[in-house]
């Protein structure tokens, strides 16, 4: 039962604004009748932006007393977190633990994603219902983790990201084991989090801190930079005047029209999907929305790294930013920077600063599943669930995944990038992938 304070259009718009490319509506709302139909969005861009309508979703267990993830935090002694990040001085994550001994699964968010995002929470509840202790972690590319956890203060270089996660996961392991019995460990993640999972598995093969029972990759990119470049290309001006700003504005306007003309009590996910059915946007415009959402993530990452390292990239070096400092100028600058430029102008020079032998080729190769293809091909405990029409994958990359994972890959024909993650069949495929097979 929710309190009926008439939510203002502002709250709705805020939700919607953060929605493009990350469908923010929580999995918990709505108990619509189950539909057995096929996943409704055949268009990969619509799927990516709109996600899964409530009646197509996997139904999580309804409990008399609802169980919610509890947020925990770890702060690193003497860490010099810049003043403007006063609110992320500690690393936060969320756990849902069973009462008795159980297997534990780590869930890693996608690019820029937070441990409490709707996708992570869905996975957390899905596996909790299946009997796991679940621990949800933000992406190392989330600005909060850059400020509070990251060893180097930069994100987007997979070996560094993996190291940050591996350290954090060992801390969490120690903490959980002091309170609960854990029978075995598994790890999963979607999007970039899936790539992190794969590299964590590879690393653990040598270090053996977890001896992962299962590793589940959900909609992974094959090559981080190839996928990021794809997003960047969607923001390049199309036919002169079709700017991303216009696409965003159009989306907001269509939402506003819907809000004015349709009466509804509350904007729950069902009403939201009624809105989506009225949306009239071209593929180009949808791609611009997805690209803009990714750009917001990358500019948050760039700005945070720049401030943490005092690198002088978008903020002048030695600028003291306090909690009252206007940041708009830095957002404007950072949001004009492509991921490719960030790589060439910031990330690579930093990697070369810490390791003089670093080359562009090596840095790029380090962020590709192709680097650990042999390991992935021969590890029976690594499973993949994804979509053939995932817009972040090139044709040859889909072929690579099929070839590498063989029978351990479940690929759906439609669903876009993580759009069908909550779809019944997709959720069941994830659960099946985690089952033990000798």
């Amino acid at each position: 039962m929710t309190a009926k304070v008439p939510a203002t259009f502002f709250h709705y718009l805020l939700t919607l604004f953060l929605l493009a490319g990350s469908h923010a509506f929580a999995a918990s709302s709505g108990t619509a009748g189950q539909s057995t139909g096929a996943y409704p969005f055949a268009n990969r861009y619509e799927a990516t932006v709109f996600g899964t309508p409530p009646e197509f979703r996997f139904q999580l267990k309804q409990r008399v007393t609802p169980v919610t993830p509890s947020v925990r935090s770890i702060s690193i002694e003497n860490r010099q977190v810049p003043e403007i990040f006063w609110y992320c001085k500690s690393v936060e994550y969320a756990e849902m633990l069973q009462k008795d001994e159980a297997p534990l699964i780590f869930i890693i968010a996608g690019t820029g994603g937070r441990f409490s995002s709707s996708k992570v929470e869905f996975l957390q509840r899905l596996f909790y219902d299946a009997g796991y202790h679940t621990v949800a972690l933000s992406s190392p590319t989330h600005f909060n983790y850059i400020a509070s956890l990251s060893k180097h203060g930069v994100a987007g270089y997979v070996p560094y990201d993996t190291e940050d996660l591996y350290t954090l996961m060992q801390w969490v392991k120690e903490d959980v084991e002091s309170r609960r019995k854990v029978s075995r460990y598994s790890v999963t993640g979607y999007s970039l989090g899936a790539m992190h999972s794969a590299f964590l598995a590879e690393r653990d093969r040598h270090e053996k801190r977890f001896n992962f029972d299962k590793v589940l990759l959900i909609n992974p990119p094959v090559d981080l930079f190839s996928s990021a470049t794809t997003f960047d290309s969607w923001l390049e001006a199309q036919n002169g005047n079709q700017t991303p700003q216009k696409a965003i504005d159009k989306f907001i306007r269509q939402f506003s029209e819907f809000y004015k003309s349709n009466n509804f009590a509350q904007l729950d996910s069902e009403v939201l999907y009624r809105f989506f059915t009225t949306v009239d946007m071209t593929d180009t415009e949808l791609k611009q929305l997805i690209g803009a959402s990714f750009r917001l993530t990358s500019s948050s990452m760039i700005f945070t790294s720049d401030v943490c390292l005092n690198a002088g990239y978008v903020v002048p070096a030695n600028t003291h930013l306090d909690t009252a400092s206007p940041l708009m100028r830095y957002f404007d600058t950072a949001s004009q920077i492509t991921f490719q430029d960030y790589f060439r102008e910031f990330l690579l020079p930093y990697l070369q600063y810490t390791d003089s032998g670093m080359t562009e080729e090596k840095a790029l190769a380090d962020c590709s599943l192709r680097k650990i293809a042999d390991f992935l091909r021969t590890s029976d405990n690594i499973r993949l669930v994804g979509n053939e029409d995932d817009p972040i994958l090139q044709t040859d990359e889909v072929a690579f995944l099929k070839q590498t994972f063989g029978k351990r890959a479940t690929l759906f024909a439609t669903g876009g990038h993580c759009g069908n993650m909550q779809y019944v069949d997709f959720a069941q495929a994830m659960l099946r992938a985690m089952e033990r097979q000798e």
Binding site: M1, T2, A3, K4, V5, P6, A7, T8, F9, F10, H11, L13, L14, R72, S73, I74, S75, I76, E77, N78, R79, V81, I84, F85, C88, S90, E92, R114, S117, F143, K151, G153, F264, A265, L296, T297, F303, C308, L309, N310, A311, G312, Y313, V314, P316, T323, A324, S325, P326, L327, M328, F331, D332, T333, S335, I337, E345, P349, Y350, Y353
Partner: protein, 285 residues
């Protein structure tokens, strides 16, 4: 207006004192509850390094004389909003966030833990029902008869079938809640939003909506005084205080927003943009 109660000043002072004590207690509780683990990791202290990027995108502040350049910057910016008092606004924003974390959210959490959902829903419905009157006033001032009709229907249905507003059968009968305030009314009358403002405790606003909010608050004050009169409540100060606290807790409980959970350090900018855009579209009819 009634003459002030002689002991009102004293009561107010003791009220403030106990409020401060309550806040102090809550802050201590939060500090205890929110205290997580600490780890020693000398390689993760984010020591300063001499590293600088070889290429810099730093834009120096546009000079005042270069107005064309400034205009260009404003057009480029996706999230541009007129915010001349930004430093002050940001200071208030940070204060609000800290207050929210230390006091409001713990109070809401306590409220949700102690008060059963049926009762909370009843309180929310009751307050919403009382607020139909100012909504009606605004719908009338906006000259919108269809909205007036819905609001009147809601008030009548919920006050009777809904047992004095504790339930909301009107929504089930498809008379949906209308969200009207004096800021919107001013907007309909053609008053521009004016510069962006962050109000203490309350949050995002602008000059127009701040005036609107003051108007709505004055209206609510007299409306409540009238209701106390009707209910023959003697101890007005307690009634006023209870009303403020209950409304405050109820309002915060109904807003899902949490500070600093937006996945970006540009939360202030995004909130400012979304607020301004929403208010602009709301009064564009």
């Amino acid at each position: 207006m009634k003459t002030a109660h002689p002991s009102r000043a004293i009561m107010t002072r003791s009220l403030i004192r106990s409020l401060i004590r309550l806040i102090g207690l809550l802050v201590c509780l939060c500090a205890l509850a929110g205290c997580g683990a600490t780890r020693t990791a000398p390689e993760r202290t984010l020591e300063k390094t001499p590293f600088r990027t070889p290429v810099s995108h730093v834009v120096t502040a546009p000079q005042a004389e270069d107005e064309a350049e400034q205009r260009k910057m404003k057009n480029v910016s996706l999230l541009a909003v007129n915010d001349p008092a930004e430093r002050l606004n940001r200071t208030i924003y940070t204060f609000n966030a800290k207050l929210d974390r230390a006091v409001l959210i713990p109070v809401v959490t306590g409220y949700e833990a102690v008060v059963p959902p049926q009762l909370r829903s009843g309180i929310a419905n009751g307050i919403s029902n009382i607020n139909e009157i100012p909504r009606l006033a605004n719908a009338m001032l906006q000259g919108d008869p269809s909205k007036c009709g819905i609001i009147v229907a809601r008030f009548v249905i919920n006050s009777t079938l809904g047992i004095g507003g504790l339930f909301d059968p009107a929504t089930k009968l498809e008379f949906y809640p209308q969200n009207e305030d004096f800021g919107q009314t001013l907007g309909v009358w053609g008053v521009p939003q004016g510069p962006y403002v962050v109000l203490p405790v309350y949050g995002p606003s602008n000059i127009r909506d701040s005036v609107g909010l003051a108007g709505d608050m004055v209206f609510a004050y007299y409306q409540m005084e009238y209701l106390y009169e009707l209910a023959e409540i003697g101890d007005r100060d307690t009634a006023r205080y209870t009303n403020t606290v209950v409304r405050g807790v109820n309002t915060r409980a109904g807003i899902p927003f949490r500070y600093y959970t937006m996945d970006t350090p540009f939360e202030y900018e995004i909130l400012r943009f979304a607020y301004t855009k929403a208010r602009q579209l709301e009064s564009e009819r």
